[in-house]
Amino acid sequence: MNALENLLEGLAQAMTPQNLLWVLIGVTLGTIVGILPGLGNPAAVLAVLLPLTLKLPPTTGLIMMAGLYHGAKFAGSTTAILLNIPTETSSVVLCYDGHKLARQGRAGPAMGMSAISGFIASTIGVIALTFLAPIVAQFAVAFGPPEFAALMVFGLLLVITVTGKSPVKGFISMAVGLLLSTVGVDLFSGTERFTFGNINLFDGVEFLVLTLGMFAVSEVLINLEHVRGKSLLEIPKGIRNLLPNKQDLKECRGAIAQGSITGFIVGAVPGGGSTIASFVSYTLQKNMSRNRHKFGKGAMEGVAAPEAANNSEVGGAMVPLLSLGLPGSASTAVMLAALLLFGVQPGPRLFETNPEIVWPVIASLYLGNFALIILNLPLIPLWVRLLKIPYWVLYPSILVLAVVGAYSVRGSIFDIYMLIFFSLLGYAFRKLGIPPTPLLMAFVLGPEAENAIRQSLILSDNSLMIFVQRPISAIVLGLAVLVIVWAIYSRRRPGALPPTKADIQQDDDMDELTEAQQREAGEIIKVDVFAPEPSDEAREDGRVTPSTHSPER
């Protein structure tokens, strides 16, 4: 196979000791810079650190950049899992299960799973890119507004499945998310929507500000109510407990495969992107999993699937970039910048005219991922020690990071006020037992769905038939109908009683903890730093012994 030979040749060119050294430096630097919210966005990391690579020979520069990119991505996952702070949009999904796992003392395995599934997925992504690029490119072009609208409707339907046992509260959350997403100047009419004449709202609500408020800050607020003199989380001893075990990997096989495929497809569609890829893959996995009751409470699959999608999305996004000269999403910024270093304009003819450049580029991106895994797996124990920081240091640090992050996304003071607003909203949600997840998903998917539906209706002169006349959108909508049928069926299954009030009260699915339960859970999970280490048995099943004595400060 010609493509495979080319890829191997590219890898061979990329693998020199000097290049390997630079890729490790790149991963390290990327991780450090990526820890900061706002800067965690891989494109921003590149913009800051690109000049460093300009002094190197092109291949080496490229490889270092690939390292930077993967380092920044991993840093985003790390802060989401450990601290509930998403530093980039595609790692938001890790705040659900990743952080829950961390609270159960499984931060290390969650981070390990994130790295491993990311590595496997990008392998699959590169292979798919190598062999399927021409076919997928045609598919990407065929994917227009009606097809995208169908996909987004499908996604929004899946959101309903993460609403937990109280559909009303889920719908409240979703409605608020949709409402927030409409703020700004409308793309089609230029009309202002919910801006109250304030120019700071013209460009809409910044997603990262929303998530920092809803997750990071409101979590600090909730915890402040009942934490005194305790560290945030406990850390098990021994490397054995810091990496995913065989059972985890076995459980997540399906999730990684699903995430890789979903991520690749969403990445290949212009306008897709890693945030949508990770959300769709997470919700799909929740519906497909046998352990779906664990989702939102710390399911390893809830880390594996979105992280796989997040990484194979890069391979998918490179399809339209390399074969059409069109970037599928922001993640391909790295590739574009990299190609420019070679003095090459990516374009429809790149594969034919410059194969000697394309393959080392793909190979180096892959190498960056490889470097990440060999560098960061051993470092996970070190990262996890972040959690040993006592709350009176950690909480102020989280607040500072959140404020800096909110400001640096757009360089706007107004966004800090927005952060305060969303922190209070997130706090209220937690107090009222409303899950924040549907809000965020609706916020991301809602505008995409709205734009695509309106674009379709412009094309069809307001005829809804356009959604079933075009084959791809008809198929996707058919799948959506199947999801509804399945959801109804699984709720009405014989033996499954409709949820009672007590069920809803006890429902701790997706952050729906009542105050009392939060406190209880907090006491179970949080362990005095000075208290004796929990017993092995307690660690084995992911539970942690409550501390018997906790010195008040």
Binding site: V48, L187, G190, F202, G271
Partner: protein
């Protein structure tokens, strides 16, 4: 058209500039020494309407870099982003600094439209002191290579034969590519649809897929696709044909009536706060003249698909007024009837 694509493509250049500016900012301690001119403002701050990596941000940073490389500027001018509302934030900021000669900003023709479209615009370009026009982005009309028309005039004929079926793709309806199309629709009495996409890539795939027939934008947005034989140019908004595309007639040659529209559709310039002292205006005019004379600047404009256009004083005011007069009724119509 502010394509994400082209923004990203420009990132490599911009990042280099960023580093230069960052290191420069830490090195210099705030004292100003701008070539020793009398009346030179101290601690100049360069306001832009996009965040780091955005169009105006890169434009400003490149400008400062070229000025420093050519020793026209010996200290550093920090770039300050006021990205709210596509120029509205930057204009409001400058309006709040009347007479403070150390603030300048990189404006674009979008600022004029932004102020007309917003019901609550806190400021407009005429509130400020326009200093100099620097460049003009030539707009072109692209179409799928297999389209059954080869000129904009033929497209209009097609649209006349199939009313309401032809589709133009682009960004916001407040962008100049839509406004100029609305004007052509008015003067020709032919209607076609406008399909908005936030990013540039979906606009091009819409044409490749056959969902849209034309797209008005800058040449760099389409150049790759034209080279690959997937798109073709069917018109140029300019007084002369483009280098390398000599067979593509200009819009004027095709006898298409642009109504009130001036030939400059997308321009970039520099403006200061209201009530800027005349000697400061003169200082900036001289400064930017020197920058535009450098080879590095000419090379930069070429790679960005920009044409040098140095206009100052009354001519500048006239150009802004002409553009503003042309867009105002179109924007008003759109706001009234979305």
């Amino acid at each position: 058209m502010s394509l994400t694509t082209s923004l990203i493509k420009r990132m490599a250049v911009g990042a280099a500039a960023t580093a230069l500016v960052v290191t420069g900012a830490t090195a210099c301690s705030g004292s100003s020494s701008t070539g020793g001119d009398a009346g030179a403002p101290k601690n100049v701050q360069f306001i832009v309407d996009t965040g780091p990596g955005g169009g105006s941000d890169l434009f400003a940073r490149e400008l400062i870099k070229i000025a420093r490389d050519n020793k026209i500027l010996t200290d550093n001018w920090p770039v300050l982003a006021k990205p709210e509302g596509g120029g509205l934030g930057a204009m409001a900021f400058l309006k709040g600094k009347p007479g403070q000669n150390n603030f300048i900003s990189a404006f674009t023709s979008k600022w004029i439209i932004a102020a007309q479209a917003a019901s609550s615009a806190p400021a407009q370009l005429t509130d400020l002191t326009p200093i100099v026009m620097l460049a003009d982005e030539v707009q072109v009309v692209a179409a799928p290579a297999n389209a059954p028309f080869n000129t904009m005039a033929e497209f209009i004929e097609q649209a006349k034969a199939h009313p309401g079926e032809m589709v133009q793709t682009g960004g916001s309806p407040n962008s100049v590519d839509n406004l100029v199309a609305l004007e052509i629709e008015k003067t020709s009495g032919v209607k076609w649809k406008y399909l908005s996409f936030e990013d540039g890539a979906p606009r091009i795939t819409a044409m490749l897929r056959g969902d849209a027939q034309i797209d008005i934008g800058a040449l760099p947005d389409f150049a790759d696709q034209i080279e690959a034989g997937k798109l073709k140019l069917i018109g140029v908004f300019s007084d002369k044909r483009l280098d390398g595309y000599e067979n593509v007639p200009t819009i004027a040659e095709q006898n298409i009536n642009l109504g009130e529209f001036p030939s400059h559709l997308q321009f970039r310039g520099i403006a200061g706060p209201p009530k800027m002292a005349p000697e400061s205006v003169q200082f900036y005019v001289d400064f930017f003249k020197k920058v535009t004379e450098t080879d590095a600047w000419k090379e930069y404009l070429k790679t960005e698909g920009l044409r040098p256009q140095l206009v100052t004083g009354d001519d500048l005011a006239t150009q802004i007024r002409e553009f503003s007069d042309a867009t105002k009724p179109l924007v008003a119509e759109m706001v009234a009837k979305p």
